[in-house]
């Protein structure tokens, strides 16, 4: 008996047995998570059905304008999510949204211009989704690290300013530290791809019956574009954050005190 590559709805329903098993285990171990797991599973089902319905409509009728609108919504959501990590940074939502947008536009436009992908919605939207997601992670990491750097390194930044250095020069060593940390995950993921994990795009193609030697072509493109997107997003974040952190007189803004009541050094 052959099983189809993509399960039917009865198959999906049967896979809910795994959720039941997980909930049962969690319930017996008194983790207090069983209800959460059931709600989360139901929610995932609902969200995916809704997204699939909208995607189907965009694929069928949206064309390029529909795709671009969808990508814009993803960028806006990604910007808000990435900015959450660094609420204390001035204008964090604007910085994060702009950085994700720039990384997405440059990366996707390059792929389209070089005819690596075409602009049909069922190609453009999933590829852009991966780019936005990669850019969001790099942006969130960069913002978090920049925030920590500014909080801990304020005396060093102000010492450089006091010696007549401009904001860019005074901030550069700290921006470098933040950028390195933020970009390492993307570099590491590129190094171990295929060795430790079989990434999503390749897995999807193999499941759909595509030869592995062909499936990796997509994956190679995906890894390269994610590396570029992460780098672009991180660099754009650091650059935009600098303009938000310093004023025209090359002064480092006071950050609002963190909620645990630690005060910045006077």
């Amino acid at each position: 008996m052959s099983v189809p590559a993509v399960p039917g709805w009865p198959g999906v329903a049967a896979s809910a047995a795994l959720v039941a098993l997980a909930a049962l285990l969690a319930g017996r171990a008194r983790l207090g998570l069983a209800a959460d797991m059931l709600v989360a599973s139901a929610r995932a089902l609902g969200q995916l059905v809704a997204v699939a319905a909208v995607l189907a409509a965009v694929f069928a009728h949206g064309g390029l304008p529909g795709s671009l609108a969808w990508i814009a919504v993803m960028v806006l959501i990604a910007g808000r999510v990435a900015a959450r990590r660094a609420r204390g940074l001035p204008r964090a939502p604007a910085v994060a949204t702009l950085a994700v947008a720039m990384a997405t536009v440059v990366t996707v436009a390059t792929l389209v211009v070089f005819a690596v992908i075409d602009t049909r919605p069922h190609v453009l939207i999933p590829v852009s989704g991966m780019v936005v997601s990669g850019a969001m992670q790099a942006t969130a990491l960069t913002l978090t690290r920049l925030h920590e750097e500014v909080e801990t390194a304020r005396p060093r930044i102000e010492a450089r300013l006091s010696l007549g250095l401009d904001a860019a020069a005074a901030f550069a060593p700290h921006a470098r530290t933040a950028l390195r940390t933020a970009m390492l995950p993307a570099v590491d993921a590129t190094k171990v791809v295929g060795l430790i994990s079989l990434p999503g795009a390749m897995t999807g193609l193999i499941l759909a019956g595509v030869e592995p030697l062909i499936a990796i072509r997509y994956q190679i493109v995906v890894m390269y574009m994610l590396l570029a997107a992460a780098t672009l997003a991180a660099v754009a974040t650091a650059r935009l954050a600098r303009t938000a952190l310093f004023d025209d007189a090359h002064r480092l803004h006071e950050l609002p005190a963190p909620p645990d009541g630690r005060s910045s050094p006077r």
């Binding site: 010492a159 450089r160 300013l161 010696l163 005190a257």
Partner: protein, 224 residues
Amino acid sequence: MSQAGFVLEGVGLRRGGAPVLTDISAHLPRGCCTLVTGPSGAGKSSLLRLLNRLAEPDTGRILLDGRPLSGHDPLLLRRRVALVAQHTALLTDSVAGELAVGRPALDAVCAADLLERVGLGACFLSRSTEGLSGGQVQRLGLARALATGPEVLLLDEPTSALDDTATGLVDDLLAAFVTDGGTAVLVSHRTAHARRLAGHALVLEAGRLTEAGDPARLRYLAAP
């Protein structure tokens, strides 16, 4: 009529909604060492930060030689008006590197001379900043600020980590700096030695200016 030096007109500064400095009006004359003293938390360090535009007053204004500070280019101003923080934040891993932060073209002769002036000696020029004592770091911070050739030195407790010998040396350096036409603003608790150096003094208490004038006549400095 413009007055040489710093003039503060009704200067107020708030941080996180709380007042740090309130309605300060004062004159810090050019070519003179002005002592700024008062209890901890009185806003003395914040006052220094206003003078080289690391912070901006929320109310009032500050003039330097008759011109509002906001009209001075901040990068040029900070080279003219050097701030030496109480705790020197090291920026590189070598003594020579520290001296070059504000003046990358500094040659070895000038660097050695700066180290001699703060009592560290030219032999420190080849040293790493690792393993320097608190007092040595503090003097390196002073030398680093002098490297940019400032006209004004803003010093925040510059001898807090120094023994008496080193303190005397820094006092002599400051006295010579002022004699040569430099202006100094010295935040200090050590009022005895500060009184020797200062030609003018301001007393801050809870963010307000409570006394100003000749250090020998101030009530705060006379108190035991």
